[in-house]
Symmetry: C2
Subunit: 303 residues, 2 copies
Amino acid sequence: MTTSDSLPKNVLLGGLEGGGTKFVCAVGTGPGDIRDEIRFPTTTPEETLARAIAFFRQHKPAAIGIASFGPVDLNPASPSFGFITTTPKPGWAHTDVLGAFRRAFDLPLAFELDVNAAAIGEYTWVPENRALNSLVYYTIGTGIGAGVIVSGQIIHGLTHPEAGHVRLPHDWSRDPFAGICPFHGDCFEGLASGPALAARWGQAADSLPQEHVAWDLEAGYIAAALVNTILLLSPQRIVLGGGVMQQDHLFPLIRQKVKALLNGYVASPLFEGDLSGYIVPPSLGNRSGVLGALAIAQRLIQS
Amino acid sequence: MTTSDSLPKNVLLGGLEGGGTKFVCAVGTGPGDIRDEIRFPTTTPEETLARAIAFFRQHKPAAIGIASFGPVDLNPASPSFGFITTTPKPGWAHTDVLGAFRRAFDLPLAFELDVNAAAIGEYTWVPENRALNSLVYYTIGTGIGAGVIVSGQIIHGLTHPEAGHVRLPHDWSRDPFAGICPFHGDCFEGLASGPALAARWGQAADSLPQEHVAWDLEAGYIAAALVNTILLLSPQRIVLGGGVMQQDHLFPLIRQKVKALLNGYVASPLFEGDLSGYIVPPSLGNRSGVLGALAIAQRLIQS
């Protein structure tokens, strides 16, 4: 790995992926050298953060990267920097995640949104991604979000992207489902997240057979969102992770629909053939987030 | 201007905005010091490029920034770098714009897409924009496009953004117009460009009275595109230029609809009140493009 070359091999890094369902904590020097890792359910902030802190106390890493579920405040100049802000998850609104770590450790600490860390993980640890200048990582599962890397850096901007809430064409005659987003109804997440699939079809998404009409519709919404991403950002690769994307058969469907919607409008050597090199599953599987947290710890030491 | 401070005041820069209708050429050291400027209609490539080259020969600038209508090839490693590629404009497909200048001048030459140059112009020469890290410039006129600045740099990526061709919600019961984009039908440009307005209503866009229902519909499509831009890119400001945006009354309508569509989902000190500081007309009026071309010439000398 390019980034590891400049670091002493024995620098121990810590990475935390704090999700709404479970927390994953790891220490190591990179994906090929994880020294210890634990995962436990997300309960109260006090209990959950204390368990994570105890794990890192035991291992004494040189820096810790903290990747949290959102929405979070990523503005270092803000009084609520490092907080989970307005989440509907009971007990977690306005939780000072970074502060809890600051009180426990006198170490370099980095704080990111979980999906941003996943993008950084795929970009940092996958050599063929490192050769690119831009990459978008989408998680499509309980919620939908995206981390956007441009010129090797994650985009923050106003706050951070909330790509799950974009508006898409919605053919009500084909799909009369009103969507489940409490803010926007039929935004991307409202139409295409795992809970939206379950609500529309009356059964869990992963119990729908491969030949169910659900998947053609789902691939269509995902393709529309990707087409808009391509036209607005021109990323050099799109990685699709998250629970819904465990349905491997979605990938070829999505790629076909992206090509059909673009109708020849984008020409690039990186955007060729059946797009199987352009729209890809995560190379790190379901470990993009925690390995991304490790990568942001590494960036902190290098900077 | 910050960028001018480090340059000797007498460094003469050249800027060309080559549009599909007219070419504008200027020399000067910045917006407050334009020494000469000409504009002439876009005829054949040979005649038009020769006139531009003659203008710059006369003035001998230290560098020239060339901003061209698209689509263009911006990949320096490509054999057609600096070409206008697949334009339907008669005579202009596969025109080697940069090559014509290279044969005429032994000078630093920069090449950009016109809307990217407009974004760079607004970013470089407007102090309150320079204080931001990201900005999107939309042109909404004969065509629709956007230049995207992240961390002070324009995004290229795969090719360049083609933000006019994103897909938007289209309520066929309210607006049965099929759109005019030859590639995509009812994409953003197909529904909301000047020619789309003219085709839908049977009269030129600028002849439609302010109280015409056209404008509420138009503001709705623009707002949907901006909401998607905000959710995907989180830019710190959006500048709206181009012929359609000469209709000043669109701005408050668009801002209201953006707020309504987001429904409180984005909170930032930069995104407050009536959004009159967030969604803005170009500070450089209709000169963002040519002044942006001057800015890319300046960047070339500084780099």
